[in-house]
Amino acid sequence: MSYQSHADLGGRPNAEPVRPEPETELFHAEWEPRALAVTLAMGATGSWNIDMSRAARETLPDYAQSSYYRIWIGALERLLAERGLVAADELAAGRALHPPKPVARVLRADAVPAALAKGSPTERPATTPARFRVGDEVRTRAQRVNHHTRLPGFAQGKRGVIEIVQGLHVFADAHAQGLGEQPQWLYRVAFSGTELWGNDAAPGLSVALDAWESYLEPAA
């Protein structure tokens, strides 16, 4: 079956307004902070990486109909089931029915501040020279791929300019598939509005995104 992300929304027709919110409005139901916390705590066990989480979320069949924390919970249940950490009958019963499987780490309360302050940096020491330099003109890959990727559809097959060389970073496409980190050079690439949207692009618009080296070829 082919990989289908429901999350690639950039440039899709959408007539709904964006609804601003006050800064203090963090959650809209009491279960939402719990959903956030269980997701972060299970992420800290090392049973999967962030790219696997994103892949699990963006391929949920009910993605478009779901609120964001509902998507997080759906993906968390899926990741747990796929690894045999929690079975469906346990979720239905609301209690553990099978012995636990070992996990690499358990995040204890007193370790939370240090774990958050450290995060999970993705930059790796440079082992190869970067193929592109600031100012180089590049073209993004035009073909779709059959796995998680971070090149949005609206920026496929487009001509842009390298603005920043961001360093060597864990390659999300490989990392999401369990193929290891396979770090690649990452670049900030800027595109004109007309390159992305044609002649009726908004005046004065440009868009920049981060693209791994294998997404890019020198522009002919």
């Binding site: 609804r19 919110e21 902070p33 956030l36 309360a109 958050l116 999970s120 900030r188 981060d210």
Partner: protein, 203 residues
Amino acid sequence: MSHDHDHEHSELDEMTLRVRALETVLAQKGYIDPAALDVLIDTYQTKIGPRNGARVVARAWADAAFRDWLLRDATAAIASLGYSGRQGEHMVVLANTPQRHHMVVCTLCSCYPWPVLGLPPTWYKSAPYRSRAVKDPRGVLADFGVTLPEGTEIRVADSTAEVRYLVLPMRPAGTEGFTEDQLATLVTRDSMIGTGLPLEPAR
């Protein structure tokens, strides 16, 4: 997302039970420390939020050397104020100018600079924002009640990797002699995403 009230109500009940069941099973299996969940929630409710980012912006407005450092190596400059880590491991700061206004989005999910802004607001994660920001940023700004001069370029930053972006808005006029604390009160969350502008000082 449905706007049918009964549906929303039943979804809340369903999700409350579903999350509670999950939390119980995970704790019984020893995968999570229930006390850690409370610390995580408290952290994002009381310690890590947009006031952190406001301090970064206020410092940049008040101190030209810090501003230069922030634009050259945002990760280190921001860490010097004590903000680092999860979802802000690699930071880049985008300075607004009279010629160019920056707006940050994540069209593919909801990537957001947590150490300086906290958790993303609902609209940032919503389909309308993620769909429209890269194509019609002035239309999005209008939803926030913001109109930029006609000639201002708009640069939209899509957060597609693990680099996170913070907008450095322009310092409002009439703030000469303000302390950093006073300046920080003018910095709104939305002005650091690029969907808003800083507050004007009271006269």
